[in-house]
């Protein structure tokens, strides 16, 4: 759905799409940037309190877990697949590792590793089902979604888990995402998110595994017949998706503390919406990490900003739905117009 054909349509399109800046960024992503800026300005103009550093921190914090999931699932989607299990895998990881730390005397550092590892294992499971058992990604990850949802609850006997608070002996892990120095909050989570985004972007665009994931997402058979181990790289896409979901579990625990059993369902769709708004193609073969981040931030700004102008959070869902459909529509419209020229 994204700007697959964009770069090669020369001498076509209008002044806007021919602009070199637009071309290098891609229309849909540019619209996403504009939408983000406009939203931030509009909310602030209506209620100046929105332009505070505290609100900015809130926007960031609402982005960590969705952002990490979204970066991960960008890989699965680019490989012409989908990962529906990211939301529940995130919660399952946080639930099990949180329970190990608080109830089973597991050292925090080990708990953190286990949290990420659980995500990676679920991801590997998805990958094996899709690549080797040849299950449709939708079905395989739907199965994992349900499985992980139940497994977390079973492990904690349907009890919720509250991760150690900041300032307590085991609360140091929170500084990975948030450091409070005399009331001044340093959003370390934002830095982490950016670092991971850069790494993911390099992985997707500049390395062999990334190139193969994009390539098999675009034309699986041609890639296979080029002698590429397609099953391996397709599995890798799901492992990345799962691993980042595990990391998202940590982010969620650090920001929101309490993990409810059986949670996370529906969050995968928020992440996928972010990916789509950012311009990644749902039919595979094109993915952009920076676009995904933009999509995620648009949703966070909406979520945080709407209460400032007197609208309840439910309006966020309405607004996100509209943004999602509009963003993709503009891209489709733009490409159809080019075809006609």
């Amino acid at each position: 759905m994204a700007n697959k054909e964009k770069k090669e349509v020369k001498g076509k399109g209008n002044a806007f799409t021919n602009n070199p800046i637009v071309k290098s960024i891609g229309t849909q992503k540019l619209i996403a940037v504009l939408a983000l800026v406009v939203l931030y300005l509009v909310f602030g103009l209506i209620n100046n309190a929105f332009w505070s550093s505290a609100t900015l921190i809130n926007i960031f914090e609402a982005s960590y877990y969705i952002g990490l999931m979204a970066i991960g699932v960008t890989f699965a989607i680019t490989s012409d697949g989908i990962d529906l299990s990211i939301g529940t895998v995130m919660m399952c990881s946080a639930l099990i590792s949180g329970s190990l730390i608080t109830k089973h005397n597991c050292p925090v550092w080990l708990g953190l590793i286990i949290c990420i590892l659980i995500g990676a294992i679920f991801g590997a499971m998805n990958g094996l089902m899709v690549s080797y058992m040849k299950l449709p990604p939708f079905i395989a990850t739907l199965g994992t979604m349900m499985l992980s949802k139940g497994l977390g609850s079973v492990f904690t006997k349907a009890q919720s888990v509250t991760w150690p608070q900041a300032g307590t002996e085991n609360g140091w892990f929170r500084s990975i995402f948030k450091i409070n120095v005399d009331g001044v909050i340093i959003p370390t989570g934002f830095i982490l998110l950016m670092v991971i985004a850069v790494v993911a972007s390099i992985l997707l665009n500049k390395t062999r595994p990334g190139r193969y994931i994009v390539s098999l997402g675009s034309n699986y058979e041609a890639t296979r017949l080029s002698g590429v181990n397609v099953a391996k790289y397709r599995t890798l896409a799901y492992i990345i998706s799962g691993t980042l979901s595990g990391l998202a579990g940590l982010a969620y625990a650090a920001i929101y503390s309490t993990i409810l059993p059986g949670g996370g369902g529906g969050m995968e769709l928020d992440a996928i919406a972010g990916v789509v708004i950012g311009g990644t193609s749902m039919s595979g073969g094109y993915g952009t990490i920076s676009g995904t981040l933009l999509g995620v931030f648009i949703m966070s700004v909406l979520k945080t900003g709407l209460p400032f102008i007197g609208l309840q959070t439910h309006y966020q869902q309405i607004a996100t739905g509209i943004v999602l459909v509009l963003a993709v529509f503009m891209d489709v419209w733009n490409r159809n117009k080019k075809k006609r020229v």
Partner: protein
């Protein structure tokens, strides 16, 4: 033999760049089976598409039941009583037999579909055909042969006077073929005009009354089946003058080592016990009619389809090929007949496609060395004279010939010693064609070896050092180029068991 029911006279049809039909005549009589024969690409299918209203003719007349007619679309032809049973089955697998037969013209009971009535009507059709199929059965549960019977039932479910069978036996077993012939004879006795397209000589002798032969879009002539031999038909099919001289003699040195040896290769239903050798610097032509199993052999050899049994030796060493990776490791490259589906990642650039099979050569540490990749791609664009604005151009915006050059470049970066070209010039214009030929000749001069699958007789004779002929999954001939003629090749290509 009855009266003439349909005549096609001087039919011309052109597509951009191709004059597909050049004044073809055809006469169909009541109560007669007419065989329509010709090589791949002779224009049989195009002619039948003109007859059934799928294509519009450019020139010529169709006289049907004494009146000049022109069918605007398939529906009009069907309504007039002309039906076609296609080679491939066009059925909805999850619907029942009766639902398939009456699709688009269901029997209604008020606003609801009357499935009971449809089952009854379908049962009546099968009775007419003397076959036993349950109309309420789900289509997918039937064998291919039975599905074909349903296609016939569908065709005769309308008032039909002319019926065309397009290679109906391609997927049938012997018993099913017998069953089919019984039906065809039955339809003939009911005074239908029948056109029967097939490559199988013995079937032609068995079931048809007259044979009309086409070649290169032209009408060659019509024979009475009883009065002619298989060789008469073959001579008419291939009797073209070849403008490009065939290769006079093999360019392969007598003592050239064997680089590839295939022993008793079996894969699926289409590759049965195929054995052959390929020498260094040789172009081995693989000839045969559609569905002879040549592409399947290549795909099995390349690991794209599983090998059921048989052995492959590269440079004398036995290799196990389970996937394309294994084949690539053994130094085999495969250029698919369907570039767009299997050869290229269309929306990616020339540079990306060129380096796809060999990315490990273009990496610095974990990163892709884009600069080196671009240099090599640009180098091949120059060497192969690929016409493109630049290496960042997406593969989809290139012409067929230039796309093929990108695929060739991809395998050249891999330094494969054995290259399988599957229909290397299909859909490529004449100029680009000779460039591809030149390229292949250069490659074998450099010591590479080529297997070339081609359905074009002139191409096979012009390029090959040796010709291997296949028919229905088996090797039916191996002819040195010095002895190869169109007749010999065609003879082997129609050798059924």
């Amino acid at each position: 033999m009855g009266d003439v029911i349909l005549t096609m006279k001087g039919i011309h049809k052109s597509f951009p760049g191709v004059h597909a039909l050049k004044g073809v005549n055809l006469e169909i009589r009541k109560g007669e089976v007419l065989a329509l024969m010709g090589e791949n690409g002779a224009g049989k299918s195009t002619l039948m598409k003109v007859l059934t209203g799928i294509y519009k003719r450019d020139e010529g007349e169709i006289i049907y039941e004494g009146k000049v007619t022109e069918f605007q679309n398939p529906r009009e032809a069907q309504d007039a009583g002309i039906a076609i049973v296609h080679q491939e089955i066009n059925m909805m697998g999850q619907l029942t037999v009766a639902q398939n037969i009456f699709i688009g013209r269901e029997f209604m009971n008020g606003k609801l579909i009357d499935d009971k009535k449809m089952n009854e009507e379908a049962a009546k059709l099968f009775e007419r055909l003397n076959i036993n199929i349950d109309p309420a059965e789900i289509m997918d549960n039937l064998t291919v042969g039975r599905q074909q019977m349903c296609e016939i039932a569908k065709a005769i479910s309308r008032e039909v006077k002319v019926i065309v069978f397009d290679e109906p036996t391609a997927a049938l077993t012997e018993t099913e073929i017998e069953e089919l012939f019984k039906i065809i004879r039955d339809l003939r006795s009911k005074q239908l005009g029948i056109v029967y397209i097939s490559h199988r000589m013995d079937e032609i002798k068995q079931i048809t009354d007259r044979v009309t032969v086409m070649r290169d879009g032209e009408y060659v002539g019509t024979l009475i089946t009883e009065e002619c031999t298989k060789d008469d038909i073959i001579n008419m099919m291939v009797g073209r003058t070849i403008f490009e001289d065939p290769k006079a003699q093999s360019n392969v040195a007598k003592d050239a080592p064997v680089v590839l040896e295939v022993k008793n290769l079996c894969s699926g239903k289409m590759v049965k016990n195929v054995s052959f050798e390929l020498h260094k610097g040789e172009i081995l032509g693989m000839a045969g009619l559609m569905g002879a199993g040549r592409t399947e052999t290549a795909r099995a050899l390349f690991g794209a389809d599983p090998i059921d049994s048989g052995e492959v030796y590269v440079n004398g060493k036995k290799v196990e090929i389970h996937s394309p990776q294994d084949a690539v490791k053994a130094g085999i490259g495969y250029l698919s007949e369907d570039r767009k589906r299997f050869g290229l990642v269309l929306d990616k650039s020339i540079s990306d496609n060129t380096c796809l099979a060999t990315l490990e050569k273009f990496t610095k540490g974990i990163f892709i060395d884009k600069k080196k990749c671009d240099e090599v791609s640009a180098d091949y664009v120059g060497k192969l004279k690929t016409k493109t604005p630049g290496i960042e151009t997406a593969a989809m915006s290139l012409s067929g010939g230039n796309q093929q050059k990108v695929v060739i470049a991809k395998w050249l970066t891999r330094d494969c010693d054995i290259l399988i070209f599957d229909e290397p010039t299909r859909g490529i214009d004449v100029g680009a064609k000779s460039e591809i030929y030149q390229l292949m000749n250069d490659l074998v001069k450099q010591g590479k070896s080529i297997i070339m699958i081609s359905s074009e007789m002139t191409e096979v004779l012009r390029m090959s050092d040796r010709v291997l002929v296949m028919c229905e999954g088996r090797k039916t001939g191996e002819i040195p180029i010095e002895e190869a003629t169109q007749e010999k090749i065609m003879h082997a290509a129609t050798l059924r068991e």
